[in-house]
């Protein structure tokens, strides 16, 4: 769990403020989880008390935060090595790994318990599965062992829409799993594009990301394959009654651009030469296609889910989009 190089830092905590414990929850990741879970919850079209709706979203947010704290407690040694993560509360020595672990366990139990009591057992079970999958299957088992780490582990990040759907309706039909599939297929191109220009840090930390193990060229090809499959699957909600014309338009046009950027990346030399060490986000010109796809992938996913939300709220107001 902790390498000797990080041990000194981990054993000598500085003054921990409450804000440092909030940082353990990865608030930015939490906000994306809340957004996708809320979309699933709204798309379920099930009658739900607004207060209980807010409680369900709170449980999902706290569960995401709890699993993030567990991840930070376990990964302190490799976070210490990588520039992107070395300022995190545990590797920087501000919060003890044991305290992060305690916070993670407490929040995870709280979120699942409240979800079971206030909402329903299926939503609680899916939330518990998500937390365990992220903290144990991804963080402990896959992350340091296989280049498929973020492919399989991506399931944890993909599940929130199903949790939200189950919270609203008590079940998780095909359309809920379509939303899960979209995030699941989106994860590899998103993270591999990032790792193409930060692979030096992953290699140094011994994390077998795809560019480190299989090389940049193979990674670029796999990104293209996943992108094509993702874009096709993302069209499906437009034909299953989940999404309307607005969604279909966003999925089609956004998907075309996604594949276009993936083709550009596949034809580029991004990741062929080691990234510079002077600045973490100093991207070489040759790696810009990777950076562009990474940035666009966030906008693409956001747009798909935002289109579904807009359609549902418009329908609630009597407008069919």
């Amino acid at each position: 769990m902790t390498q000797p190089s990080a041990a000194a830092s981990l054993a000598a905590p500085a003054v921990a403020r409450w804000q440092d414990f909030v940082r353990l929850l990865k608030p930015r990741v939490m906000s994306l989880v809340v957004f996708t879970a809320f979309t699933g919850l709204i798309c379920a079209r099930a009658p739900m008390d607004p207060v209980l709706m807010a409680v369900a979203v709170l449980c999902i947010a706290v569960g995401a935060g709890g699993s993030a704290a567990l991840n930070m407690a376990y990964d302190a040694d490799i976070d210490f090595v990588m520039r992107r993560t070395r300022a995190r509360p545990v590797p920087s020595g501000v919060v003890r790994a044991a305290d992060a672990l305690a916070l993670g366990i407490t929040l995870s139990l709280f979120s699942v318990g409240v979800m079971a009591v206030a909402i329903n057992v299926l939503a609680a079970a899916l939330l518990a599965f998500t937390i365990v999958f992220y903290a144990l299957v991804y963080t402990v088992w896959l992350k340091r062992r296989t280049p498929q780490n973020i492919v399989i582990g991506g399931l944890a990040g993909a599940l929130p829409p199903a949790v939200g759907w189950a919270a609203a309706s008590g079940n998780a039909p095909l359309n809920a799993w379509l939303l899960v599939a979209i995030i699941f297929l989106w994860t590899p191109p998103h993270f591999w594009a990032l790792s193409l220009y930060t692979s030096g840090d992953y290699a140094k930390a011994g994390v077998p990301m795809m560019p480190v193990v299989k090389g940049a060229a193979s990674t670029r090809r796999q990104i293209l394959v996943y992108s094509v499959v993702l874009v096709l699957v993302a069209l499906a909600p437009g034909f299953t009654g989940l999404g309307g014309l607005l969604y279909l338009g966003v999925a089609a046009l956004g998907g075309l651009l996604f594949v276009g950027l993936s083709v550009r990346l596949a034809l580029s030399r991004a990741g062929d030469t080691p990234p510079p060490h002077d600045g973490l986000y100093d991207v070489k010109a040759s790696a810009r296609p990777a950076r562009d796809l990474f940035a666009y992938s966030i906008l693409y996913l956001f747009s798909l889910f935002a289109a579904l939300l807009i359609e549902r709220f418009a329908a609630f107001g009597g407008v069919n989009l």
Binding site: W18, F21, M48, P50, L52
Partner: protein, 48 residues
């Protein structure tokens, strides 16, 4: 010469902040349980 066992001002302020955060979290939990109870007693949802 300063007492090594004496807590620094910065550490004391940080501890106070953490304690207040825990108190607020506990208060929020009590309110949450109350709100859930009221909502569960008379819940009639709205489908969006």
């Amino acid at each position: 010469m300063s007492d090594p066992n004496q807590e620094s001002t910065e550490a004391a302020a940080a501890r106070r902040g953490r304690n207040i955060a825990i108190a607020l979290a506990l208060a929020a939990f009590v309110i949450l349980v109350f709100v859930i109870t009221i909502a569960k007693m008379g819940a009639h949802g709205t489908a969006l």
